[in-house]
Symmetry: C2
Subunit: 147 residues, 2 copies
């Protein structure tokens, strides 16, 4: 099963925030939803998670959302964790209650555990090594190349 698109949507939204111009019109959930191509409520729910993680500040009433840190200080792992794609250490789900009377049954979990954690860790470390800053730089670069 796939990792929820909440993660890629979150990176999208944060990129919008990172690139927003001072003089620009406010980035409301409706605007962001337009860019992502989804429903404003989906964005607001997401912003709630990002806010809880301390990545953004949301002005309640007449709108506006802002990053609380520099884009260079936000890693994709921060985002990944913020949107709770997976509980920590739970990327792989393991069948529970194997037969304890069986050699394999009573030891498989412990035998697999380290490997699964290492695998998950390897993935997360890649995300930890990329910042929002790098993503927006890449966005600008891609756009220049395409034109």
């Amino acid at each position: 099963m796939q990792i929820s698109s909440r993660f890629s949507v979150a990176v999208h939204v944060l990129s919008l925030l990172a690139l927003q111009q001072e003089d620009d019109v406010l980035l409301t959930s409706e605007r962001m939803a337009g860019s992502v191509n989804t429903n404003p409520v989906v964005i607001r729910r997401l912003l709630g998670q990002l806010k809880k993680a301390g990545l953004v500040e949301v002005r309640p009433a007449s709108g506006g959302t802002f990053l609380t840190r520099q884009p260079a200080a936000i890693s994709l792992l921060d985002v990944y964790r913020a949107v709770e794609v997976v509980e920590e250490g739970q990327l792989f789900s393991v069948h529970d209650k194997p037969l304890q009377a069986c050699l394999v049954g009573r030891n498989i979990q412990a035998a697999l555990d380290t490997t699964l954690l290492r695998a998950q860790n390897a993935l997360e470390q890649v995300l930890a090594g990329v910042t929002l800053q790098q993503v927006t730089t890449e966005i600008l670069l891609q756009d220049k190349q395409a034109s």
Copy 2:
């Protein structure tokens, strides 16, 4: 969202096959289901996938399933791919059809792509580095330590 337990069940089943004694009674889907603590049909479906991937041979009628290769020649990545936990290169799902009129919208996918592939690759390489042999060795070791 979590990676399906099909993967850990598959490793469990393959471990049973790797450790099965010649003189032992046949490993039927019912027996394996007992050890895993699930339904025989779930096991048979799984064996179907492992068979398709060429990892096991199933004797159709009066039972019995066997590995087609040495445990040392089967990596956890082989198993992971066999049970189709995720399509190749599709661990992360990305929201589709972002707004092309928007700078971020039209470049986010390309900008994220490399990173997501690298992350997924890092995970898979860990799995590629562990063999079924190592798992069964670990199972025996764990059991000795517990007793």
